[in-house]
């Protein structure tokens, strides 16, 4: 039936291996790029075929066992895939957005030295991500889980000659590893707990089936899910592990779009969705997730207010949006979370690619003018809407979408999340306040970005000013497609209250139904409340946009005054709440100090000191005893006599 599922990850793997082995010899960018893009596109086709097949299928959960992987006694693990509505949506998003970004990269990466390397990694990423979403058991998922981390590492460190890039890559991988530690702990505890009950499995379907064996709301399930959530915070850049994502912007922009916006970072959300049954059983975890999500959404948004690097703003925006998704998961709005995941994939990918287009243009111009200005600094931009019309329009559409303006995709998904966070049995009005405030700030900083970049005076260095071109079509086509989806992507999930059927929710229902019903998670409240909330959130967004307009178009001196007025607050926000410094001082430096101490202070001095000390004592005693051997006959005779006397005396008396 769905026996060609394996082809979906297989194609990119082939592409990756091919480019990895032969890319260097081929040298032809067109060949390399089209192979890579083609492979992901093939995956997309297969994914689409399976998706539509599933759409028409009454049986919504399908497993495909490929081979046995690890077999030790009762522990039997297979290479297996799982296709259900959730993974079906994900593979479409991944391969779809992936194809576009690959296509985009062909032009964007033109002339790069490691062209083949880039596509090799990108394809490898697609492979890993598809393994992640298609994995039929937690370990196959974990392959993808770590695999995307690896690719993220490789791609962030793509410009490895740059110290900051390789450092960012390391940071990304290591912070992710902290999350993976949680994931592994959760996984192993879960496995043990189930094995105690006689179920030896890591298979998702079986886990879901036997979840009821564990005590609902019990300590064990709470610990397990919290561990998993730690994994999710790592991968999805939530508090406390979000710091790697902004740094990850060191990678080429398509990477930021694909990995650090559209797909990989959403893996945490996906994972929670995948195990929704378990999470739903642990209200404490759910609450934690909701709070962490809400706080992340809020704090990341505050940081986004003051950044000047175009990609960093987007990065914090991503963190913030991911916070929304977690908020959704935490309040039990699983399908809303996934819905937002999807719409976010469209508009954020479009935003990143758009920013990439801008950077590409500026870079081109600077290069032309032999300048070394930072092409990512928004303070050097402005007025680009005329130079890059397509980029501008798609960017604007996506900005509106992310700001939650009605009838754009972001509106539907974000609003549903806000509604659930207020009205869900697991929700709370404080969560809603956090979300709404974040939404307002999002609208503000996104429009700030648009205004600073595309409107107003052109602040680019005069010498480069006139050389900013619109990007080539391999760049603009993906932009347009994504912009289109950012515009309309929300319509598959129009909530009932607005007269829609919320087909998205219905499609995903088989996955989440059980968790929601069994644990009585549902949004309740009157239509009136829902309408009111919707109106309030739209109003907040509008206020945000208006403020941005006031500050950056009508009265450009205002931001400066603002900064001067609230200098302290600005500095804190600008420096990202000093979280990096905090971690550096609390974890990194002590860790290094401990390491150094353990080595030089403990290992060498104490442990080895004891070893060498033993040798030294033995040698010292020997050297001392040596001098009893004085060379004088009478001393020797004396020793003998003493020996005799002692021996005889001892035995006689």
């Amino acid at each position: 039936m769905y026996s060609n599922l394996w082809l979906i990850p297989f194609f990119p793997l082939i592409g990756s291996i091919f480019n990895g082995l032969f890319g260097k010899k081929i040298k032809n960018e067109a060949v390399i790029g089209s192979i890579a893009t083609g492979m992901v596109f093939l995956s997309f086709l297969v994914a689409a075929q399976n998706f539509f097949k599933l759409l028409g299928d009454t049986e919504k959960v399908h497993e495909l066992v490929m081979a046995s992987w690890i077999t030790v006694g009762k522990f039997q693990l297979n290479w297996e895939f799982l296709l259900d509505p959730l993974s079906a949506v994900m593979i479409l998003v991944v391969t779809g957005v992936g194809t576009l970004i690959h296509l985009y990269s062909i032009g964007y990466m033109h002339g790069e030295e490691g062209y083949y390397r880039f596509f090799c990694y990108m394809n490898l990423f697609a492979f890993a991500m598809l393994m992640l979403v298609l994995g039929g058991n937690a370990l196959v998922m974990f392959i993808g889980w770590e695999g995307v981390g690896l690719c993220s590492y490789l791609l962030i460190g793509y410009y490895y000659e740059k110290k900051s890039a390789s450092t960012a890559a390391n940071k990304a991988f290591i912070v992710n590893r902290i999350g993976d530690f949680g994931f592994l702990c959760g996984l192993l505890t879960l496995f043990w707990a189930l094995a105690e009950k006689g179920v030896w499995t890591l298979n998702f379907v079986k886990i879901a089936e036997s979840g009821h064996l564990l005590e609902s709301g019990g300590l064990l399930i709470t610990v397990v899910t919290l561990c998993f959530f730690l994994g999710a915070t790592g991968k999805s850049a939530q508090i406390p592990l979000f710091t790697w994502l902004p740094d990850a912007m060191e990678g080429p922009t398509p990477v930021s779009a694909l990995i650090h916006a559209a797909t990989m970072v959403t893996a945490g959300v996906y994972m929670i969705g995948r195990m929704n049954g378990l999470f739903a059983m642990a209200p404490a975890t759910m609450m934690t997730i909701a709070i962490v999500g809400g706080l992340t959404a809020f704090f990341a948004a505050t940081i986004g207010l003051a950044q000047n690097d175009i990609k960093r703003v987007l990065a914090y925006s991503t963190v913030s949006q991911l916070g929304y998704m977690f908020l959704a998961m935490g309040v039990g709005a699983f399908s809303a979370g996934i819905f937002h995941l999807m719409t976010h994939a469209f508009f954020k990918a479009c935003l990143f690619l758009g920013s990439g287009s801008v950077i590409h243009g500026l870079h081109h111009a600077y290069h032309h003018a032999h300048l070394h200005d930072d092409p990512q600094d928004m303070r050097n931009m402005g007025g680009l809407r005329k130079k890059m019309p397509i980029t501008f329009i798609t960017f604007l559409v996506s900005t509106i979408a992310i700001s939650g303006i009605p009838f754009f995709s972001g509106f539907f998904s974000k609003d549903e999340i806000l509604w659930w966070s207020f009205g869900s049995t697991r929700g709370h009005w404080l969560l809603w306040v956090l979300g709404a405030a974040a939404a307002g700030m999002t609208a503000f900083y996104m429009f700030r970005l648009v205004f600073m970049t595309f409107f107003g005076e052109q602040k680019t260095d005069a010498r480069a000013k006139d050389h900013i071109p619109e990007s080539p079509f391999t760049i603009t086509i993906p932009l347009m497609v994504l912009g289109f989806f950012a515009l309309i992507g929300g319509y598959i999930g129009v909530p009932k209250i607005l007269g829609g059927a919320n087909r998205f929710d219905a499609f995903l229902a088989p996955v989440f139904e059980h968790a929601q019903h069994a644990n009585e998670i549902h949004a309740h409240g009157t239509h009136a409340t829902e309408y009111t909330l919707m109106a309030v959130s739209v109003a907040i967004a509008t206020v945000g946009i208006f403020t941005a307009w006031v500050m950056y178009i009508r009265n450009p001196e205002l931001p400066g005054k603002f900064v001067a007025r609230f200098e302290g607050a600005h500095r804190v926000i600008f420096n990202k709440w000093y979280i990096d410094e905090l971690y550096e001082n609390v974890f990194v430096i002590p860790c290094k100090r401990i390491g150094t101490f353990l080595w030089r202070g403990f290992d060498v001095k104490v442990v080895d000191g004891v070893v060498n000390g033993c040798a030294w004592v033995v040698k010292g005693v020997g050297a001392g005893l040596r001098y009893t051997q004085s060379g004088y006959l009478y001393n020797y005779a004396m020793a003998m006599v003493v020996g005799v006397v002692v021996i005889v005396g001892f035995f006689i008396f």
Partner: protein, 486 residues
């Protein structure tokens, strides 16, 4: 009176002393030959001594499984005596082989040297076969007096003089204690025969508590402990070993020591069986003390001969462990170990003899730097001996030590075994230092003075074969040692 003489004559059993008789006789013939030989020509005497040893060896071997008692029970040439005699003969033969060239190099081509070694061997054989304290004493003195001479053989060399004198004085001193002990035992039991003493103690169990008996027994042991260089009677060893001519050092550490062990074992196990509990605790202590002092002090030695002297002290300690065990395994282990030690120690000394310059001032740790590269075969061979001395498989040193510790553990002396192996671990360091010098340092000298002569080469070859063969296939000789134990 007539009857007594007749009885005595009937008691004479020349077979029982035939090996030592033959050896002494041949040694005297050789002494005469050397008197009439041209001064400075020693080689023929050396080879004739070898022939004498071979003959003696053949005669000795007829005693295997054919115990001969004689002289009113004061001599018993049993398997035990045969085994030890063979050790001494082998040691003497190897020593003689490595001596000839050495004597000429050092400028003392004096052929009396060889008969002296033969006399020593004969004395050793008496000690091994004596069952009367009188015979043992005689053997001991024959052995000692010859050794005093041999130790001081280089009469123009102060070092050798000093070694001889120190050995002589301390040896004589210890003999005093031994004799006093014999006298006391005699006073209590009325006999100097070992089995007579044992029989007396068996008949009068209270004897074991008798002060005079205990004191006598302990003083008697002092003489033997002195000879085997057990602490605190070991002090002569390093000085004498260092000062004596190198082949004699090698010989002293093997043959006479084995003989002393033989006498010690016979006296303690058979004669002083009544004091078993006292003696085992004494030997326990002495074994540990001896091993520890030997190994610890060896750590800081630079002179190779002196280092090997301390090493030989520690090996006496290991061998004593077998005596502590006081069981069949431990005793036969000592026999086996003595044989093994003969091979590995004589082999090591033979290599040192080859690489020494005249006066042997270069036999220090630094002096062998890079030997392994300049003289690879000598290097490998010395390495094998050193590994054997360390007690590492697959050399005989390992099987020997294994046998010893097996005895101790079988008898329940776990701690002794642990202290023993820990001592082996300490000893690794100083043996390894030699290997470090030979292989891990760059050669400073080209060792062009080293010439390999056939007799020494033979003795080294025999030792290497012995060490490796007894390491890999110890079965046959272990079984012989088992049969030789009592």
């Amino acid at each position: 009176m007539e009857n007594l003489v007749q009885e005595a004559i009937q008691n004479v059993n020349l077979q029982a002393i035939m090996p030592s008789l033959v050896l002494s006789g041949l040694a005297m013939v050789l002494l005469m030959i050397s008197v009439f030989s041209k001064r400075g020509s020693t080689t023929h005497v050396a080879w004739l001594s070898i022939v004498a040893l071979v003959i003696t060896g053949l005669v000795t071997l007829t005693g295997w499984n054919n115990p001969q008692a004689g002289f009113a029970g004061s001599v018993l040439f049993d398997n035990f005596a045969t085994f030890f005699s063979m050790i001494c003969i082998v040691a003497a033969a190897l020593t003689i082989l490595m001596s000839d060239d050495y004597l000429r190099r050092e400028g003392y081509p004096v052929s009396e040297y060889y008969p002296l070694i033969l006399f020593t061997t004969a004395g050793a054989m008496w000690m091994a076969s004596g069952t009367d304290l009188m015979t043992i004493f005689l053997g001991l003195e024959v052995l000692s007096v010859s050794l005093y001479v041999l130790a001081g053989f280089f009469r123009n060399q102060t070092r050798s003089n000093e070694a001889g004198l120190k050995y002589f004085f301390l040896g004589a001193f210890s003999t005093g204690f031994l004799l006093y002990g014999v006298a006391l035992l005699y006073g209590v039991t009325g006999t100097t025969k070992i089995d007579g003493i044992a029989a007396y103690v068996q008949a009068n169990p209270d004897t074991a508590l008798n002060t005079m008996f205990i004191a006598g027994g302990l003083l008697l042991l002092v003489g033997f402990l002195f000879k085997i260089a057990a602490a605190p009677f070991h002090m002569w060893t390093p000085d004498v070993y260092q000062g004596a001519p190198t082949p004699i050092t090698a010989f002293m550490s093997a043959g006479p020591k084995a003989a002393a062990f033989a006498a010690l074992m016979r006296v303690t196990i058979i004669g002083l069986d009544g004091l078993q509990s006292e003696l085992t605790s004494l030997f326990w202590l002495l074994a540990v003390l001896t091993m520890t002092i030997g190994n610890f002090v060896a750590l800081s030695q630079k002179d190779l001969k002196r280092m090997l002297a301390y090493s030989s002290i520690s090996h006496a300690g290991y061998a004593l462990v077998g005596l502590v065990a006081w069981n069949a395994i431990g005793l036969s282990a000592i026999l086996f170990y003595m044989l093994v030690y003969t091979f590995m120690n004589l082999g090591a000394f033979a290599v040192l003899i080859l690489i020494g310059k005249k006066g042997e001032d270069n036999l220090t740790l630094d002096g062998v730097a890079g030997l392994g590269y300049k003289k690879p075969i000598l290097g490998i061979v010395l390495t094998i001996f050193l590994f054997s001395l360390m007690g590492l498989p697959p050399t005989a040193g390992f099987t020997g030590k294994f046998y010893i510790f097996a005895g101790a553990i079988e008898a329940g002396y776990i701690w002794l075994a642990i202290l023993g192996v820990m001592n082996s671990a300490v000893s690794l360091y100083y043996y390894l230092r030699v290997i470090v010098q030979m292989y891990f340092r760059d050669p400073e000298e080209d060792f062009n003075w080293v010439t390999i002569n056939v007799p020494t080469a033979i003795s080294i070859a025999v030792s290497v074969v012995g060490v490796l063969y007894l390491g890999l296939f110890p079965n046959s000789l272990m079984n012989l040692a088992k049969m030789a134990g009592f």
